[in-house]
Symmetry: C2
Subunit: 434 residues, 2 copies
């Protein structure tokens, strides 16, 4: 019998339970309307497309790259290069969709974006002195990865306007004063998970300046960037990055499909050793990746490659329908909230929510505690699921807030779900009234 | 500019270079005959089979599991359960091929066997006191994974008869005396990489006893077990394990194909927490995996599932042609060595090699040092590649030995390659003669 306390301490930490919660709560209450996981809408997927995408990629290898049949076989079936084989296509996409000019050598194809974050943290954090700054509230994937690697996390406040730069400077200085080395700051500048907030263009510039001044890297995670409610999108931090301060995590989970488990990390930072030998950070990440997953399934890469090829390497164009769908879902949710919590009803006045410019998530503030017991009651008696925001804070916070994911439900379900949520909240408020 | 010495120390360690060496040396000398990487023979693969395997798995979901079209779509395209969805098929295979009766709940499907090793080490090793015993010489994948997790490695000698149990007991006691906790011992009991050696049935039993007596786990890695030269195969440690001492790593890279990047870890150990709550180690591994890769591509799993289904869940039967091929390659290599190093030639008497009972690898002992310079010369002037055995030792060893992989070359190339190797060795010996 193994004792749990003999296993790695992260396994007893709540952050590692949250991922499972998000995956499984929906299974526990299959009848409930679930605003819990940030899933994609599956209506966009067709099983029949997979063979066509694979075939499209094979045709590209044969016709444009001059591969023989045997070389195609090697590419698909054999171990491949650690950092992947669809970098050229990713680079074309980044130029078209994000205006980013990137050297394919600096791209590491990863098993989802998550592996990219994991291997980057491992490469960057060398000693217990190395700490990671994270926006707070924070995506659970980076928190869990850091905990597994025994990396200390320092939360930096993020409000409706994005990251609080004063808090950032304060935290960096305090960490330095304690002999720590703030190695990097993790942010989702576009339609963040969990908050739904975005950074203004000015904040992006000021953040890059702060990173240069205080000498840390920026880890920019951008899974939702395409899904803007407005026509105008902000440039990514990486697109504005003139000093190679930004490591960029890209995902095909939302713009392609999650089941491919393909993401990428853009790490163009030069690395120099004592002998003056220079490599790219992407080369160093390759060594880490080779010991975590060896490489990313070449077949999964071929499917993503086929998807890129059949869309002329622009996922922005390919996702027009999805962009519209997620935009309309967010607007449906916002309208439903307006109706369900009327400003002229006294009970509803303590309830507020943000108006994200895009993405999958919004946050509702309540005038009372939001905890697991409330969620259980909500699921069991009101038939509606959501995520307590407290799950996304490292050192307390979000106690009176919940996250709604509006990504994969049909509009009528969103409206019904928000009515259910409103009944729960009204009942809670009335019970509390003296 | 990042300084290399500011990155994780494992990145400056040679073990992480070896994986890249094995992948890339063949590209540097494309004309050479390469006995370096333990690759599979690609003649068994057909690109056209992929769509059929995927289709076979979908048919199984629809016909045998009663999935609707929408459920199939969810299964293939969406995030799935962290620990995978082909456990039932893997369990049927383990029963047919290995005589192992396994609960599907204790199986974690991983991104290759490598991820299984990585997440298992992470779960098991909680503090710097936790050390990992490894057979020496040792597979580079476990060494690299441990280094990335700052886990101390203790080598245990492995000779032609398999692991040295006396050295094992000595090392365990010495570690304990220093306040360390020997957490587990990593071994490849069947046709090991790099040595080609196997453990006798008696050694297997004694190893299980030692693990129980000294209270550590056994990590059994079994990628080559199907590829026996003899009709009779030994039971795996896991098949003999009555006390749940063994964590078993399975791979489809050799018995299926490497490009799926699908492996599995069998971790049926109960874990108990302070409150008396019981889980399986597989559940704990799930939490680690969710933060490393989220889950294994459901499409890759479907391909492996399809392969299992079309072979009635026995890979032993499905691999008969491959088993014959690898057996004949090994025998070709052994015969070629006999011919190239005749016992009646004085110069050849200092050269010896082992006679593995199966698998991909054999080891040649030489009467002089085998290093990178010799490899460079061998590649450049003699047109033959191999791997210095010193790469596989943690604390010195193997300085006068090299590894030959006989897995993916056609027989005529094996014969020619060994003749080239013999010319190199003869020339070296003659140069050294006074």
């Amino acid at each position: 019998m193994l004792r749990k306390d003999s296993l790695h301490p992260a396994l007893s930490h709540s952050s590692l339970e949250v991922m499972n919660f998000l995956n499984e709560v929906t299974l526990r209450f299959p009848e409930a309307i679930s605003f819990a996981p940030g899933r994609t809408y599956e209506g966009f997927y067709e099983s029949g497309r997979l063979a066509a995408q694979l075939q499209g990629y094979v045709r590209y290898l044969e016709k444009q790259q001059g591969f023989t049949e045997a070389q195609v076989r090697t590419r698909l079936f054999q171990y491949g290069r650690t950092n992947g084989h669809i970098q050229e296509l990713i680079v074309r996409m980044l130029e078209k969709d994000e205006g980013m000019l990137v050297d394919p050598q600096s791209v590491v194809v990863t098993v989802g974006c998550q592996e990219g974050m994991f291997i980057t943290l491992r490469a960057l954090c060398a000693t217990p002195r190395d700490v990671l700054l994270v926006s707070s509230p924070c995506y659970i994937g980076i928190v869990g990865a850091a905990r597994l690697l025994d990396i200390e996390l320092i939360p930096v406040e993020e409000g409706p306007e994005g990251l609080d730069l004063e808090d950032l400077e304060r935290k960096v200085r305090a960490a330095r004063a304690e002999g720590k080395r703030p190695r990097a700051l993790y942010v989702i500048p576009d339609f963040s998970n969990p908050s739904g907030n975005s950074f203004s263009l000015e904040l992006r510039h000021r953040l890059l300046e702060a990173a240069a001044r205080e000498d840390f890297l920026l880890l920019e995670d951008n899974p939702y960037g395409l899904f803007s409610r407005e026509r105008e999108r902000h440039p990514t931090l990486k697109a504005l990055d003139k000093q190679k301060r930004v490591i960029y995590f890209g995902s095909f989970a939302k713009s392609g499909f999650p089941g491919a488990r393909v993401g990428y990390t853009l790490a163009d930072q030069p690395v120099i050793d004592d002998a003056g030998q220079q490599t790219l950070l992407a080369d160093e990440l390759s060594k880490v990746k080779s010991m975590v997953t060896v490489n990313t399934s070449p077949i999964s890469q071929a499917l993503v490659g086929g998807l890129l090829l059949e869309n002329d390497c622009t996922l922005l164009a390919a996702n027009q329908q999805a962009i519209r769908f997620y935009r309309e879902n967010m607007e449906t949710a916002l309208r439903a909230l307006e109706r369900a919590f009327p400003r002229d009803a006294a009970w509803a006045r303590g309830v507020s929510w943000n108006h994200p410019q895009g993405g999958f998530f919004l946050v509702v503030q309540l005038p009372f505690e939001v905890d697991d017991a409330l969620l259980e009651r909500s699921a069991r008696r009101y038939g509606v699921l959501w995520t307590p925001m407290r799950y996304f804070y490292i050192e307390g916070g979000g106690e009176r807030a919940l996250r709604l994911s509006c990504s994969y439900l049909a509009p009528a379900r969103i409206e019904e779900g928000i009515q259910r949520l409103a009944r729960l909240i009204q009942d809670c408020l009335e019970e509390r009234r003296p």
